[in-house]
């Protein structure tokens, strides 16, 4: 990554305080990306400071059965990408608002992007 594009590894306990801090400092939510890894998922939350063109990605690793809280209470615009991660990868995300209950993409297969054992 270059100097305007960094990835910071964080723990579950740090997620909410950091996201709240980003919101308070007017960082824009750029994207949320789920990746299947061994035993679970890697969640990446990217934010951008528009004036500086700086992008920071908060990287959180979670176990497959672990539940994470939705950030839609802080960034309401996160709902599409959180619903997508839940539906395609099977990431357990609590309190997404609005929650499409795995019907965002109207597909029959459960968590089609999840790595098969």
């Amino acid at each position: 990554m270059d100097d305007r594009n960094e990835i910071k590894k964080i723990t579950m306990a740090e997620l909410f305080p950091l996201v709240i801090e980003m919101k308070a400092k007017h960082w824009r939510l750029v994207q949320i990306c789920a990746v299947s890894i061994e035993h679970g998922y890697e969640m990446s939350y990217s934010f951008c400071k528009n004036e500086e063109y700086r992008m920071v990605t908060l990287r959180l690793e979670i176990d497959a059965e672990e539940t994470i809280a939705s950030i839609t209470q802080i960034y309401p615009c996160a709902f599409l990408q959180e619903n997508e991660a839940a539906e395609l990868f099977g990431v357990k995300i609590q309190n997404i608002n609005p929650n499409y209950h795995d019907k965002l993409y109207r597909i029959d297969e459960v968590a089609p992007f999840k790595k098969k054992e």
Binding site: M1, I7, C33, V35, Y53, P76, C77, P98, R106
Partner: protein
């Protein structure tokens, strides 16, 4: 007390080129809330990256969407090149930039036609699309395809433009610029257009940032953010400045796109003047290992291309966050308080691309 009702809008609607559905919550004729839903054309293209050689996948990335095809190919290739540390020849970066700017003109002209059609201004719609045809002809002459250009590859580009071709592009944009003048004047000065667009669907700068807006939707609200300023491809050699307007309404979003068309002409002209001689691609050895988040400015706004390689020819993950994914939440915000009759027009002004969004 106003009567509250829910009106389903879409997925099939005369103004929507692609399927998207909205549940509109109305109080009499005023929209007080909207719940968007997509999912009619999801193809799971990101997943295919695990089963296709990373070089072959360029062809799939280009087919995520017809309008944004060139940008998707370029965004994917640039992200893989960053992971592999490939230095692309300068001429290839200039060629990518020229095609990318032609794509921007093509996309904005398509949108202008759709907007005119949504307003019932048929002659303006036909004129916008007549001009768009000329860009498609330029694609045909320079790349051999009118929609899917297939010019990008990991390590450079597959096709070169010789001196005659570049001169042809210069003449074509000169003619096009002249022909654009009355179209621009009509969009900006016609009474009917102004009465439909001015003051409709206002998105404040604060709301645009808070809701994650990108591209012309963001810049029309006064935020000077254009990813081309990062200087990828040949943009670091060219005079790029974000085009902004401050009113945040439908008219401002239209004005930003019109001015961006003229900016693209200037950028193409500058790129043709400065394009260096040399090779158009470098051989690619090895497989990608590592990850990268690439940002590029598509006609509809910032797009994110994430690739994660594991050292084999198959990538672990390719993620594409398209501009429309980011512009749907601000659109919902804009809809609040508008009249039911303005909903189609307002949806159009974010220039939604559902094929990209669903991938």
């Amino acid at each position: 007390m106003a009567k509250r009702s829910i009106v389903p809008f879409g997925p099939q609607h005369p103004v929507l080129p692609e399927p998207v559905h909205l549940d509109l919550v109305l109080e009499d004729e005023t929209v007080v809330g909207a719940i968007p839903s997509i999912g009619y054309i999801h193809r799971g293209l990101e997943k295919l990256v695990e089963k296709r050689d990373f070089k072959q996948y360029v062809y799939i990335a280009e087919r995520v969407c017809g309008i944004c095809s060139c940008g998707h190919g370029m965004g994917y290739c640039e992200s893989v090149e960053k992971v592999m540390g490939i230095e692309v020849p300068r001429r290839a970066e200039y060629l990518r930039t020229i095609w990318m700017e032609m794509s921007r003109v093509h996309s904005h002209l398509l949108w202008l036609g759709l907007l005119a059609d949504a307003m019932g201004f048929e002659s303006l719609f036909m004129e916008s699309w007549r001009l768009r045809e000329k860009i498609l002809d330029m694609f045909d002459q320079t790349a051999g395809g009118r929609i899917i250009l297939s010019v990008n590859c990991v390590g450079g580009v597959l096709k070169d433009m010789d001196g005659g071709m570049l001169q042809g592009v210069l003449h074509a944009i000169e003619d096009l610029e002249k022909e654009m003048k009355p179209v621009i004047d009509t969009f900006l000065e016609d009474y009917t257009v102004q009465s439909r667009l001015k003051g409709t669907g206002v998105l404040s700068r604060e709301n645009a940032i808070a809701m994650g807006a990108v591209g012309p939707t963001l810049r029309a609200s006064g935020e000077a953010y254009d990813v081309r300023m990062l200087g990828y491809a040949a943009y670091n050699d060219l005079s790029v400045e974000p085009i902004i307007e401050s009113d945040g309404d439908c008219y401002a979003r239209c004005e930003v796109r019109l001015r961006e068309i003229l900016q693209s002409f200037a950028l193409i002209r500058e790129a043709i003047q400065k394009i260096p001689e040399g090779p158009i691609a470098v051989p690619v050895k090895g497989n990608p290992k590592g990850e990268y988040f690439m940002r590029i400015e598509q006609p509809r706004g910032e797009a994110i291309y994430y690739v994660k390689g594991n050292g084999t020819k198959y990538l672990d993950r390719f993620r594409l966050r398209t501009p429309t994914t980011s512009n749907i939440p601000p659109m919902v915000e804009m809809l609040k308080g508008c009249q039911l009759a303005d909903v189609p027009l307002l949806i159009l002004t974010i220039d939604p691309c559902v094929s990209c969004t669903e991938r």
